[in-house]
């Protein structure tokens, strides 16, 4: 009797679970993955959406596999997909995303800038995703480091030469190397080369990869590296070394600096990355919301997207998880001081006179990792192992050329637009 009861209960639980699953709108995201952030999404940001939403997270490679596998199997479980611009791009090529042109009209009053909407077409002429939130990379310094700024330097308009001089002054004063970069195994250092270093010195990323400008740039970076903390090749997130005082000046994605800024806002200043001869390269990071083809609950998905793009939810997103609005929304004055610091850093970066936006790589599909490797390997060989920059750049350019030809990815900004695969000069 007991066992019958038990199995009856088990069946009931299973049934109710599958019913619940059938009713939920499954929202799969590669963003806001850490447990605390995912909880914020579930408990704060998705509150008020009609119907029940399950917020699920997945690392980018697995996200890609899952989306494509569900499409191939003809059995969709995901109704909304939230991911970075570059992560959604391969799903367009594989035909896994539905167009959302109908939503553009519905969301007309949100005031999403035309440029951002255009990005959401992914070059197809149809709206493929709705911009969700944006972020970028900034620099953070502990206030005690400001005293050592080189004479005449404005922290909000630094050049790479001044950053090096600053690092040198800090080392002379403290005996330590206090500049930090996230060059660890999971750090976002490749984005620094692609969005900051290369554009600032060469005005491009792929095309001028092995140019004379690039050669000079690596020389400069190597000389800056003398003042960079040697633990940098182990740092994945810069917030911990900043808080520990191991590093006084750091570059990273705002999401990976947030803990330090929120916990001790009085201790830090935020400012844009330095400028080179070609401008102040920076990489805007845009995340979008898309609806997979054959989504089990398209109406539910539309409701989620409408909700998340409301100005008040966008402001909440900034306050809770540090990603900034893509819609017209005033950030409130009572924003927490840490988030305000991030917002200032982002605004100074975007608004810099010499700002040179560099997009995340587009069209590389599953070769994104190997694309990053070209830059990491160049860094490893030139800066850490002291190999000849010319020889390294020539060798790596051949690898880069092979990758571009294999993926046929056309150039993205700031490289000059190309019809076919982006050329490596």
């Amino acid at each position: 009797m007991k066992s019958i009861l038990a199995s009856g209960t088990a069946v009931a639980i299973l049934l109710s679970a599958s019913f619940a699953a059938a009713q939920d709108v499954n929202f799969l995201s590669t963003q806001l993955r850490p447990v605390e952030e995912a909880q914020k999404v579930r408990q704060v940001l998705l509150k008020g959406v009609p119907g029940k939403v399950s917020y699920l997270v997945e690392e980018p490679p697995q996200f890609d596999v899952r989306m494509k596998a569900e499409g191939k199997a003809g059995k969709r479980t995901i109704s909304v997909a939230g991911a970075l611009h570059g992560e959604l791009q391969p799903l367009v090529t594989s035909g896994d995303l539905d167009t959302v042109d109908d939503l553009v009209a519905k969301l007309a009053d949100r005031g999403i800038p035309q440029g951002l909407l255009e990005l959401g077409k992914l070059g197809t002429g149809k709206q493929v995703y709705i911009p969700w939130m944006q972020a970028t990379y900034i620099m953070v310094a502990r206030k005690e480091a400001l005293a050592s700024l080189p004479a005449g330097a404005d922290v909000n308009a630094l050049t790479y030469d001044q950053l090096e001089a600053w690092g040198k002054a800090l080392t002379e004063k403290t005996g330590k190397r206090l500049i930090g970069f996230p060059a660890g195994p999971k750090g976002l250092m490749p984005r620094f080369y692609q969005g900051y270093l290369y554009p600032s010195f060469t005005g491009g990323v792929v095309t001028p990869f092995r140019s004379a400008d690039a050669e000079a740039m690596w020389g400069k970076f190597k000389s800056l590296w003398q003042y960079v903390n040697p633990n940098s090749t182990s740092y994945d997130f810069m917030q911990e070394p900043l808080m520990a005082g191991e590093v006084w000046v750091a570059f990273d994605h705002v999401a990976r600096l947030k803990d330090a800024l929120v916990q001790e806002p009085d201790k830090y200043v935020t400012f844009p990355a330095p400028a080179g001869p070609k401008g102040r390269g920076y990489m805007p990071v845009v995340a979008g919301l898309a609806i997979p083809k054959g989504a089990p609950d398209r109406a539910g998905a539309v409701a989620v997207i409408e909700h998340l793009t409301k100005p008040e939810i966008q402001v909440k997103t900034a306050a809770e998880v540090g990603f900034f609005p893509v819609v017209k929304a005033e950030l409130p004055a009572d924003l927490s001081p840490g988030i305000k610091l991030i917002a200032e850093g982002v605004a100074k970066t975007q608004g810099a006179k010499d700002a040179l936006p560099a997009l995340l790589p587009i069209g590389l599909g599953d070769k994104g990792g190997e694309f990053n490797k070209v830059f990491s390997d160049s860094f490893q060989r030139i800066v850490l192992r002291g190999e000849n920059p010319r020889a390294v750049l020539d060798a790596q350019a051949a690898v880069l050329k092979g990758l571009m030809e294999a993926t046929k990815a056309p150039c993205w900004a700031p490289d000059k637009a190309s019809e076919a695969a982006c050329p490596v000069d």
Binding site: P61, K176, G184, P185, N229, P230, N231, T233, S234, A244, E246, D366, K367, G368, G369, E370, N372, K373, D377, Q380, R381, L384
Partner: protein
């Protein structure tokens, strides 16, 4: 009828494990071999070429072998000493054995993190040395600029973590050696060192062989400890396979690394089987 049944019985009993092995071991192995020898569906040696020409390949190969050559002999010597000591302990033997085998229950990654907490700039060792006035401030030992101390850190962590498995095998082996041999040797006046060299060691050979094979194969597959302590500053073969699969998203090159590790492990096993061969008549 009965006879055929009894003849089929051993095979029937073996069948489940055979199915199991085929499904979770042989099939993936065959798939990995196929993956490593193909590039976008076409048969090719491209993955192996890329593996060999990668900037970390030589370093990873070198580091892995260096680690095995340093760690395994130390572990064997330590475990031999410890197992003989355990033999001699009367009361409290189980407690000592229990304490010594605690690292067996700790996962590789956790062990690596424990040692990272000790050795990193703000770690316990730095604090202790600073407290004693031996260093001026936090010293970095685990960076790309200090390969020596980084290697030492990995060796320490590996020895701490994986000596216990050798110890357990040797303790079991020691218990199998009949006491009569030693008693006879003592009657004839043999010294402890002679007894150890002439009786214990030869009779322990099968256990040593097992322990060495197991330990060496596992040492070639070292990853989590190195990853925790050194990140990518200390490339090893399995770490490279992981990076190619995970960060570079190139399954082909990752499969090539996996095959290389399989080949090296098989070769090491074959060498031990031959070098420590125990003729049937000598087996206890």
């Amino acid at each position: 009828m009965k006879r055929t049944q009894s003849r089929a019985l051993p095979y029937l009993l073996l069948a489940p494990s055979l199915v199991f092995l085929t499904a979770i071991f042989l099939l993936p192995l065959v798939q990995t071999i196929a993956l490593s020898f193909s590039e976008s569906g076409v048969a090719s040696l491209g993955n192996y070429r890329r593996m060999v020409s990668d900037l970390n390949f030589g370093l990873a190969l070198c580091n892995t072998f260096l680690l095995v050559l340093v760690v395994v002999p130390i572990q064997l010597a330590l475990a031999l000493g410890m197992s003989v000591m355990i033999e001699k302990i009367g009361r409290g033997r189980d407690l000592v054995l229990w304490v010594w085998t605690i690292p067996l229950g700790v996962s590789d990654l956790a062990a690596g993190l424990v040692w990272l907490a000790i050795l990193q700039d703000r770690g316990y060792l730095n604090s202790a040395l600073y407290g004693l006035g031996l260093i001026d401030g936090p010293t970095a030992w685990l960076t790309y600029e200090t390969p020596g101390t980084l290697f030492l850190g990995v060796v320490l962590a590996e020895i701490w973590r994986a000596t216990a498995i050798v110890l357990v095998i040797l303790v079991a082996g020691l218990q199998l050696i009949p006491k009569e041999y030693r008693e006879a040797a003592e009657v004839f006046g043999a010294r402890p060192w002679t007894i150890f060299r002439r009786i214990t060691l030869p009779l322990l050979k099968p256990s040593i062989q097992t322990a060495l094979i197991l330990r060496t194969v596992l040492a070639f597959e070292v990853f989590a400890v190195v990853y925790a302590i050194g990140g990518t500053n200390f490339p090893v073969l399995v770490g490279e396979a992981y990076t190619w699969q995970n960060a570079n998203q190139n399954t082909g090159v990752a499969a090539a690394y996996a095959m290389l590790i399989v080949v090296i492990s098989l070769a090491a096993t074959a060498i031990y089987l031959r070098a420590l061969r125990v003729p049937a008549e000598q087996q206890p």
